[in-house]
Every structure is written in structure tokens, then in C-alpha cells.
Symmetry: C2
Subunit: 350 residues, 2 copies
């Protein structure tokens, strides 16, 4: 009888434990500080969604860069296992692996809906996983900024000559293009940009778009706001340590990938609204701001420089060539439809 009782007790405990929910706890680092909206918001939104969708089975702690102190170290931290995942952007890793560059946005490239279509229907996501596989990382779209503006300029750009010797803060691949056009490209930390522009240390700078530019105050000291060309659809990125992901139960893998996908789309829409709101406010307070597009000759020179730099990269890396070729082929198909639909519709309704 004593033994029988022990068996029953054991069974009782066994059932209780086996049905009780195990909680999976993950740690996420962001490249952003906790005040960078809507970037950091998107990381929080994803974590909240994952927790709610899993009914508390998946819990993700989000650390902003104020905490972990390594905004551009998040890839290494996820690879090394200090963090399980991160919210960041793919083009930050071009120094480690040039083939990661095109998954954010390319000059004169796809727009946000076109690029999402490339990711999800045109083989883009599979290509991204292929590039990141050698880093033992899974990579997913993480939210789109929409078309980024071409930047704030103190003087109007009327010709190619106006760019020669112009001191401009414009980092990355776009900076390389501008350098080819004679621009003196400088690198200045975010916190010093406003003063640099105000005191003529620089003549122009590129940041993001109205939603993120407004708090920087550039519109108070540089009246020309140029339309975008270099980042038509910058897609943020979620990266996940592959070993950690593979160990999650199947349904939590689906919860995590769905939460990332939904948070990404939501950021695109949220930032679309934030840009419109911020622009309305800027224009009201500073009615002298002038929206300009670069003259055709300048644009043509940028396109030429872009083409040359892409050819150089493709010659050096067959991997980036594969990604760029895939985007080019997709663009040929999708842009024709964008023209017939959104472009021609907006043309008659602006």
C-alpha cells in the first residue's frame, strides 16, 4: 500500500509538472538608444507581441544600447551568445561581410512595398538567410523607414559644381557615391551634427526623414530639404542566434517569426504616419523650408557613380553580385507595376 501511494504521488507530480508551462527567456540587444523612436519602439513592440501571442511562454528582455554600450557590437554579441537576438540594420555589417549591404536599401533601389515583395515573394528572404548562414545567424526584416530624405543643405544645389568641395556628413555607400562627385564626405557623431551645421563646419548632412530629423533641429539652420535617392526603403533587421532559435519548440519559432514580421510591417506604417506628422509641424513652424529635388545632371552623375561602385563590389564578391542581380531582376518586373499603379495614381492626385 505504501508503494502504491508513492506511485500515485509520483504520477500526480509528474502530470502537474509536465502540463505546467515552461517559460523560455531570451535577451535582445538593440543598436538604438531607448529614446530612438520608432526604432526602439519596434523592438519593444516585437517583444510584447511574442510574449502575448505565446501566452507568456516566450519572454524577451530588451536592452537598449544605453545599457549594453555596444550599438555596433550586437552582431558579435548575438554570434557569441551574450544576446540571443538583436534589432539593428544589415548594412552596419558591410565591413565584416560586404554581401550583407543590400538587405537594408540600395541607392536608386526598391521602394518599401516593392522590397517587401522581393523579400517575401521574390526570393529575397531566402538569399538573406543564405548570406547570414555562415555567421550562424538568422536574419529577418525589422521595419522600414520608407524613403529617406536626401538631406539638409545650407545652399541650393543647382549644378554639379555646387557639390565640388561641399562638406557633407553622409556615411556608408551613399557617402562613397557623393565622394565620387567631389563632395568632401565627413564623419561626425550624431550629437555634434546640429552645432557643426550651424557653425558652418559642414555645409550639408543626411540623417533619416522628418520623423527622426525633427528632434535634431536641422531645419532651423539649413533651409533646403532634398528628396531621397540613396535609401528609398531602409529595412531594419532582426537577427537571431541560430542555435538558440533551433532549440525553441516549433510553435514558439512561429510566434517569434510572426512577431518579427508583424512588428516590421507596423514600423513601416507607424513611421509613414510619423513622417507626415513631423513634416506638417516643421513646415508650420519654419515655412521657409524648401523641398528640392536634385537637378537631373546631378542625379545622372549619382546614378553613374552608383553603377560603377556596384560593378566594383560585384567584381570582388560573387555573393553580393548574386543579391544585387536578384534585386535588379525583381526591380525590372515590379517597377513597371509601381508606375502603372501608385505612381500614375499619385500623379493625378497631388
Amino acid at each position: 500500500m505504501r508503494n502504491f501511494l508513492k506511485i500515485i504521488l509520483f504520477l500526480s507530480l509528474f502530470f502537474s509538472f509536465s502540463y505546467a508551462q515552461k517559460v523560455y527567456r531570451l535577451k535582445m540587444a538593440t543598436t538604438w538608444t531607448s529614446t530612438q523612436s520608432p526604432l526602439f519602439d519596434t523592438a519593444l513592440h516585437m517583444a510584447k507581441l511574442a510574449q502575448e501571442l505565446s501566452n507568456g511562454e516566450l519572454k524577451i528582455r530588451v536592452d537598449a544600447s544605453n545599457k549594453h554600450k555596444a550599438p555596433f557590437g550586437v552582431l558579435d554579441m548575438v554570434k557569441g551568445g551574450q544576446y540571443d537576438l538583436a534589432h539593428t540594420a544589415s548594412y552596419y555589417w558591410k565591413g565584416k561581410d560586404i554581401a550583407t549591404l543590400p538587405f537594408t536599401s540600395m541607392p536608386f533601389g526598391l521602394t518599401a512595398p516593392e522590397q517587401y515583395a522581393w523579400f517575401y515573394e521574390g526570393g529575397g528572404l531566402e538569399l538573406m538567410q543564405k548570406i547570414y548562414a555562415k555567421h550562424k545567424i538568422l536574419s529577418f526584416p525589422g521595419g522600414n523607414t520608407g524613403v529617406q530624405m536626401g538631406g539638409w543643405f545650407r545652399k541650393e544645389i543647382k549644378s554639379l559644381d555646387d557639390l565640388k568641395g561641399l562638406k557633407m556628413r553622409i556615411p556608408g555607400f551613399a557617402g562613397e557615391i557623393m565622394a565620387k562627385l567631389g563632395v568632401q564626405v565627413t564623419n561626425i557623431a550624431g550629437g555634434e551634427l546640429y552645432t557643426s551645421l550651424e557653425r558652418h563646419t559642414i555645409d550639408a548632412l543626411e540623417w533619416v526623414g522628418p520623423s527622426m530629423d525633427i528632434n535634431m533641429g536641422f531645419h532651423k539652420v539649413a533651409p533646403y530639404y532634398y528628396t531621397g535617392w540613396h535609401e528609398p526603403a531602409s529595412e531594419m533587421q532582426f537577427i537571431v542566434n541560430k542555435r538558440v532559435f533551433d532549440k525553441l519548440p516549433k510553435h514558439l519559432q512561429i510566434v517569434l517569426t510572426s512577431a518579427m514580421k508583424l512588428a516590421a510591417y507596423d514600423m513601416y506604417i507607424q513611421n509613414y504616419d510619423m513622417n507626415a506628422t513631423a513634416w506638417q509641424k516643421m513646415k508650420k513652424e519654419y515655412p521657409n523650408i524648401q523641398v528640392k529635388t536634385f537637378p537631373k545632371k546631378v542625379m545622372d552623375a549619382m546614378k553613374k557613380a552608383n553603377k560603377e561602385l556596384r560593378a566594383e563590389m560585384s567584381a570582388k564578391s560573387p555573393e553580393i553580385k548574386e543579391v544585387l542581380d536578384s534585386q535588379d531582376a525583381y526591380m525590372k518586373k515590379i517597377r513597371e507595376w509601381s508606375k502603372m499603379s501608385d505612381y500614375l495614381y499619385l500623379k493625378d492626385n497631388i
Copy 2:
């Protein structure tokens, strides 16, 4: 001892049952037949997502209209409890409640990203819930077609005179606008449209866009394909019986709303790709198809008729007035940004 044993046994059973998962089964009806892609696909995609995200706790059976035989009866069936939810479109209910009309798309209205921003950031979703509350229904965005084309015409439209007496199949509110311009608006079932166009029973018709037009074959008998004006961003709709929704546990409510939201965004992106693919195929097989935009005078007359009809509706229903005013106010803010971003970017890159 015997009593003690009984208590242990009872506890063991109690824990087993209380932790065992209850399965919630819902029934969904669609307005679409099972072959209508990507509409029916989106309903299936949502049901699959809900089941996977909930780890099988939420199971949704999807019935196409081939089965339930009442494509335009789904609102009544969800209200009456024969179905728990449905995938359909809000403008089908304008005969029952005129205020439901603007939640699909309005002529010369918001584009897809603008409209998603209105729904999720501009108060649109709250307004939609308010309108549907009296029907004891919850309503959610259900996937966007993007800009719908203006239709297939046998002859080119060069002036307003070319529209007078023109026999065209164009249903709903857009049909009312066309009627004001002298078009003889006819209503013909989908299955008879191709023959009617081929045999000159009608001179023109409007369907959706390349992805859904291609299988109808209109491009084989009418060479002029006009760009869109009347449905710039038709958003499909998920409706849910409010009583059923309220009875779901909180985490399954979040699973269901997230699955609907994600499936909706996905349809927008999927259909963007499908339109581009279908258009490429059509144009290759029938290179004589000509894409046209209506002349400015025709467009201006459409806009005038649209304005008049909207004023009439608003005068009759304070509810639709509230929705239209909300969209108008949002448009004022967001269109300016769409112009600076997507429009001016595409202008230099098509």
C-alpha cells in the same frame, strides 16, 4: 488511508485536466470561391497562422462561398451566429449601412500605405469599430489589392463625349460616378463578362487589376487598359461576431487579431507581386495592350461627380460624414509626405 489515497487520486486527475489544453473551434465564411486568389488564400493564411500561433488551441474552419452559397450573406450569417467570422469587404454592406462604404476604398482616396496609416495611427480602426458596433460585429482590415485599374476599354477615351452612352460594367459607388458622366452602367455577372465584352454587349468593364484580371482574359478583346482612380487601395475585411470574440481567452483574442493583421499586410505584398507578374505575362503575350490614363477633362469631371455624390451621402448620414471627414483630414497630412517621398522618388526612377 483509503480516504487519503482518494484525495491524491482526485488531485492527480484535477491537475491533469486543468493543464490539458482546451481547443476553441471557430467557423469562418468567405465571400470568395476557393479559386479566387489571393483573396481566399488570405483567409486560409489567417486560419493557419491563428492555429500555429496558438499551438493548436484555436482552430478555424474556412468555408468558401462554393460551400455556404451566400457570398453576400456572410455579414448576416456572422450576426446570426451560423458563422463566427468571415473574410469579405466592407463596401458590400453599403445597402444595409451606408457608413460601412469608406472602409474599403474611396475614389481619389488614400493609397494602401496611407490607408493602413489611417487605420492604425489615424483613428480609422476605432471609427470602423464604432460603425460596426451597432451590428454587434468587430471589423478589421483584411488585405489590400493596391491600386485597382480603371478597366478595359475597346476604344480609347479621348474626351468626355466618348463616355456618353458607353456601355460599361462598373458596380457600386464608382458606377454612380460614371453614370453622372453619361456612361450607361450595366450589371453583368462575372462569368458572362468576357463574352459580353467580346460580343460588344458592353464597351468596357472594370474588374480588379492584372493579378485577378489575367484569368478573365479581358486583355484578349479590349486593348486599352486604363489606370486607376476609383479604388486606389481596396482593403478586404475580417468580421468577427463580438459575442464569440469576447468569450475567447485574452491571449487567443490577441492571437486572432494578430493573425488577421499579419494576413492583411501579407496579402497587400503578395498581390503587389502577383500584379507585377501577371502584367509582365499579359504584356508579353499581347504586346498591343496600351496603358492609358483618362484625359484631364474626364478626370476632372469624375472628381466633380465624386464630390457631389459624397456631399449627398454626407447630408443624409452624419455617420458616413464622420468617416469621410476623418479620411479627408488625414489625406491632407499624409499626401504631402507621399508626394515628397514615394512620388518624387519614383518620378526620377521610372
